[in-house]
């Protein structure tokens, strides 16, 4: 019998955040603090011939200006070190003599060239304008299909003879045989856009050397320990010399996985021995951090008359932008999910990532799966149409089962529950009852030009890190008191990015030790005296940090029962091992856990203006066990709003590598007026053996089915398939043949 698990207790961080007491990176202040600004390249591809900082240095109030020559090891990267910390000539370790990176080249507009440190922000800003940089422009590559051609100008000449940075393959069965068996074939080309994370809090941070000589960096991120590793590497310091702490995090969504301001402010604080603070403007944030991968996906799928899929051939070409960031892992995820949550006996897949001079692409909620889902689910909807079959029915027929091999050729690690979520979504929506509520009272529905339609899609994604990474999470629990437990202290570095993880950890500790939530304290988001927790990504923290805290709390309780005072235990949860993609066939067991989702939506299309409104969304999720149902619903509703922006309103426009939409007045995210009046979350709870109390994860899942469900609904309303988004009114009107 549990009490707190499964209960919608209020978030433990709600009070501080709602009252404004909680400190975010931008709120941090220290005596003697200096202010920093970054000079960005502002051009997409060029060699820096010289940097003249003399006029800027002469400005009263300027304390120091750092350039490439000041960075001990001028390279970094989450996956590979392919990016200079500061671009410019005269790095201490040039490429070939230490680092692998040509630092004198800027490869996108957001590359950083100089850090200006001054007594005030205004002076730093003024000094920034006085720096003279001499550039020699290089050819700009912005189209991955051009950039991947043999002979294209190389963006990273030190990394081989092609701009292709990733190529994952799936070779399962015999696709030609599969197509020969098919009664219907659907072939299409899909295009999906870049997306900006648009978190509430732009990048900010404070770095200083503490009284023990530790270089401390306080800046929101997603994984304290890898931030530390990258900072230490670039500064040539032992990791123990660096401490990374997270203040409250104003949203992340994957966009804070890679470094932004951390290394440069650490460098300045270390050299100057004074606290250094920086806050990016929204414009700097938008050009300065990575985006969701834009992709072109060409797909050919076949099915028999009875609806059974026989074969699929998919080609993905993804714009990786100027640096690797996590492109290799993101595309690995597209590779795994390119079948959709369906059994396909024969698959051939090629997923290619290409360096360009666009803003780099990296992690973004869903991590390569939303793009793959748009293709896979659209293919399913079109096959259903060709077969005269209901879109729910064709999914029932092909839903992945325990005994089916996935695209990677191996069996699913946990029982697939795609059928269950499909049924749950269809039932809640009233799918079998047929038509949409065509005459319901939306503002425009009296106009004949406004058509309604409904659409269906499903999706699946791994929970936890993949491809042979030794997935682990550390926690420590202390139980204090004498006769009875007075306080329980949980240590875990896991990042609270807004998803509610810390509330979950407190609930778990309270449940195990049998105390009320008010007696649980958390010490989190720090590298000092804490083990690795892994990232707030891959929808993994409920399982990973949940299991770690559960294990630590259970053994601390044992010790408590054995009269230890305080009773202290540490525990590292290790997830079951996984294996990397085979380079030729993709054969592997990439993951230890998957979660499944399905959505049914209703939209309204104004066939005169091209406006699309999302009216209703039913979103069904197998979350294993909802440890806190309100937080799960929060993730579903938030995910749908963000995914709606991706599909309908947002439009990241670049030209020649320059970002045209670098403010929130031009990069339009959905407002309260745009989002559906109704999102109905359906929680299906089929326990996962692995998760704490059976819990899986949910954060990314709501993203996956939305785009294909919306385009299917537009097809239902208008008879037209639109295989590209965002669904700007103009694109919709054009697709309807009215432009």
């Amino acid at each position: 019998m549990t009490t707190i698990i499964g209960t919608a207790v209020p978030r433990i961080d709600a009070y501080g955040k709602v009252t404004g007491q909680t400190e975010y990176s931008g709120d941090l202040v220290m005596p003697g603090m200096l202010h920093a600004k970054i000079l960005f390249a502002g051009r997409p591809h060029a060699r820096i011939l010289s940097i003249d900082t003399s006029a800027a240095e002469a400005l009263p109030g300027v304390v120091a200006i750092f350039t490439a020559k000041d960075v001990p090891v001028n390279e970094y990267g989450l996956q590979i070190n392919d990016q200079p910390v500061l671009c410019g000539p005269n790095s201490p370790l040039p490429a070939g003599e230490g680092t692998g990176v040509r630092a004198d080249i800027v490869r996108f507009v957001g590359d950083q060239v100089a850090l200006i440190v001054a007594e005030t922000e205004a002076i730093a800003d003024q000094a920034r304008k006085l720096i003279r940089v001499e550039y020699e422009d290089l050819p700009v590559l912005t189209d991955p299909e051009e950039a991947m051609k043999p002979g294209a100008f190389l963006i990273h000449p030190e990394r081989g003879t092609s701009n292709i940075c990733v190529h994952d393959k799936i070779r399962k069965g015999d696709v030609e045989k599969g197509f020969a068996e098919a009664d219907v074939i659907v072939e299409a080309e899909y295009r999906v856009p870049m997306q900006e994370h648009a978190y509430l809090q732009p990048e900010a941070g404070l770095a200083y050397v503490d009284e023990n000589g530790l270089l401390t960096v306080k800046a929101a991120g997603q994984w304290t320990h890898v931030d530390r590793k990258q900072i230490a590497h670039a500064l040539a310091l032992p990791e123990e010399q660096v401490r990374v702490q997270y203040p409250a995090i104003g949203g992340a969504f994957g966009g804070r996985e890679d470094m932004s301001i951390q290394i440069v402010i650490a460098l300045a604080a270390w050299k100057l021995k004074r606290p250094v603070k920086i806050i990016w403007s929204r414009q700097e944030s938008i050009i300065g951090h990575a985006k969701r991968h834009a992709m072109v996906i060409r797909a050919k799928w076949g099915a028999r008359k009875d609806g059974k899929l026989t074969a699929a051939r998919n080609l993905f070409i993804a714009d990786g932008g100027a640096y690797m960031y996590t492109t290799n892992k993101v595309l690995g995820n597209s590779t795994i999910t390119e079948s959709g949550p369906y059994f396909i006996p024969n698959i051939e897949g090629d997923v290619i990532g290409v360096y360009t001079n666009n803003v780099p692409a990296a992690a973004f909620r869903g991590f390569g799966a939303p793009q793959a889902a748009f293709m896979a689910e659209s293919q399913m909807n079109k096959l259903a149409e060709k077969l005269g079959m209901d879109p729910v029915e064709i999914r029932r027929i092909n839903a992945l089962k325990e005994t089916d091999t996935m695209a990677v050729g191996t069996l699913p690690p946990n029982k697939p529950t795609v059928l269950e979520v499909i049924e749950a979504a269809a039932e809640k929506f009233g799918w079998e009852q047929g038509a949409v509520s065509r005459n319901q009272g939306s503002v425009n529905s009296h106009r004949a030009a406004v058509k309604r339609g409904r659409g269906f899609a499903a999706g699946f994604k791994n929970i936890g890190f993949s491809f042979g990474y030794k997935e682990n999470c550390w926690a420590r629990v202390e139980i204090h008191g004498q006769a009875e437990i007075e306080a329980v202290t949980v240590w875990c570095a896991a990042a609270e990015v807004g998803q509610g993880n810390h509330t979950i950890l407190a609930q778990i500790a309270a449940e195990v030790t049998g105390v009320p939530l008010s007696r649980v304290n958390l010490l989190t988001m720090d590298t000092l005296n804490m083990g690795n927790a892994g990232s707030a990504s891959a929808s993994r923290l409920t399982v990973m940090s949940g299991n770690a805290v559960k294990g630590a709390a259970e053994s601390a309780l044992e010790k408590w029962k054995n009269e230890e005072r305080p009773a202290v235990a540490e525990y590292t949860y290790l997830a079951p091992p996984t294996t990397p993609l085979d380079p030729e066939t993709g054969y592997c067991t990439p993951n230890f856990l998957y979660a499944y989702a399905a959505q049914a939506v209703e939209v309204e299309v104004d066939t005169e203006t091209g406006h699309v409104r999302l009216l209703r969304v039913v979103s069904a999720h197998d979350v294993g066990k909802a440890i806190n149902p309100d937080l799960v619903v929060g993730q579903i509703e938030g995910g749908i709003v963000q995914a709606q922006g991706y599909v309908i309103q947002e439009n990241f426009i670049t030209r020649g590598g320059y970002v045209l939409t670098d403010q929130l007045s031009t990069y339009l995210i959905p407002t309260i007026w745009d989002i559906p009046a109704k999102v109905e979350s359906v929680l299906v709870e089929i326990p996962a053996e692995i998760g704490p109390w059976g819990a899986k994860g949910v954060g990314e899942l709501p993203y996956l089915p939305l785009a294909p469900a919306i385009t299917a609904a537009i097809h239902d309303a208008t008879g037209v398939w639109i295989d590209q988004f965002p669904l700007t009114p103009e694109r919709v009107l054009r697709a309807l043949g009215k432009l």
Binding site: Q649, L668, L733
Partner: protein
């Protein structure tokens, strides 16, 4: 980092105009600040020394009938216009326009005067006013004068006001029997910024005939655009599908729709103009017929 050095709170129009001439320059007026503060912050407006706040001047906050006119002070925020029964009765296109500007927070602060003075070709309030043939009252150190609204605009973001002048308010002809107006726009996300296209129509109806019409549309040129030829075309015509089609053609011939890289193509704007004109005409026509004193049989 302060965006200004001095901030003044005049209590009368005369004090405000005086302050603009006498205070340390550059001195400029500020109303709701929703445009100005952003422009200053982002460096899109040259630095200023003195800000002269107009929102404490009672005359600029007035919204009342003055003889044959409805007077709306330049400092009246959009939300008051939206809620005003007088505005609803006499200025439907303006009320609709103001109701779509920004979100509630913006509408609580932003003023009609600021919307017009900023002189953007697609400012919603401005387009709503243009169709109503409003006049503006200008105060300068030399005294006051009334000008027609189009005379206020020089180019994108540029008004014809001298640095020492302010708009006191707007005079809108009272709505007579058989008259009606409407405003429509298309926007990607609601409540954030200027529209892709907006359009306002005013017309007077006599039985099944359009006695007079005025059409305004933005962005369709460097200044807020009055579709004079379309208005003339409509005048005296019966309200039929054929007339609407003719008006649509005329509008496309006289308006200069442009492509803006981050917003929309000219082609899309042309397609929209046709739709918005039909919809606004239809609504205005119905409203003209609904007026209690309508001479429609």
């Amino acid at each position: 980092m302060s965006l200004w050095k001095e901030y003044l709170h005049p209590q009368t129009v005369e004090q405000a105009v005086q302050a603009l001439s006498a205070a340390a320059s550059p001195a400029i007026p500020i109303a709701g600040g929703t445009d100005l503060m952003l422009d200053l912050q982002q460096g899109n407006h040259p630095p200023v020394h003195t800000l002269v706040d107009l929102t404490g001047i009672p005359e600029l906050r007035a919204l009342e009938i003055r003889g044959e006119w409805l007077f709306i002070g330049a400092g009246v925020p959009h939300n008051r216009i939206v809620e005003s029964p007088l505005a609803r009765e006499h200025a439907a296109s303006l009320v609709e326009a103001c109701g779509l500007i920004g979100g509630p927070q913006v509408r609580n602060m932003a003023t009609l005067g600021g919307n017009v003075a900023h002189a953007l070709p697609a400012a919603d309030g401005t387009i709503g006013l243009l169709a109503l043939e409003a006049e503006a009252e200008i105060a300068s150190p030399e005294g006051r004068r009334r000008v027609s609204l189009p005379a206020l605009f020089r180019g994108p973001g540029q008004s014809t006001l001298a640095p020492t002048e302010i708009i006191v308010g707007f005079y809108l002809p009272l709505r007579a029997p058989g008259q009606g107006s409407a405003f429509v726009r298309v926007m990607r996300a609601q409540g954030i910024a200027l529209p892709i296209l907006n359009l306002a129509v005013w017309l007077e109806r006599q039985e099944e005939t359009i006695r007079a019409a005025r059409v305004a549309v933005g962005p369709a040129g460097p200044t807020p655009f009055r579709a004079v030829q379309t208005s003339a075309y409509l005048t005296g015509k019966p309200f039929t599908a054929e007339t609407i089609a003719g008006a649509q053609e005329t509008l496309l011939a006289e308006a200069r729709f442009r492509t803006s890289p981050a917003r929309a193509t000219a082609e899309y704007r042309r397609a929209l103009a046709v739709v918005l004109l039909k919809n606004a005409l239809t609504t205005a026509w119905q409203r003209a017929g609904q007026y209690p004193g309508s001479n429609q049989q």
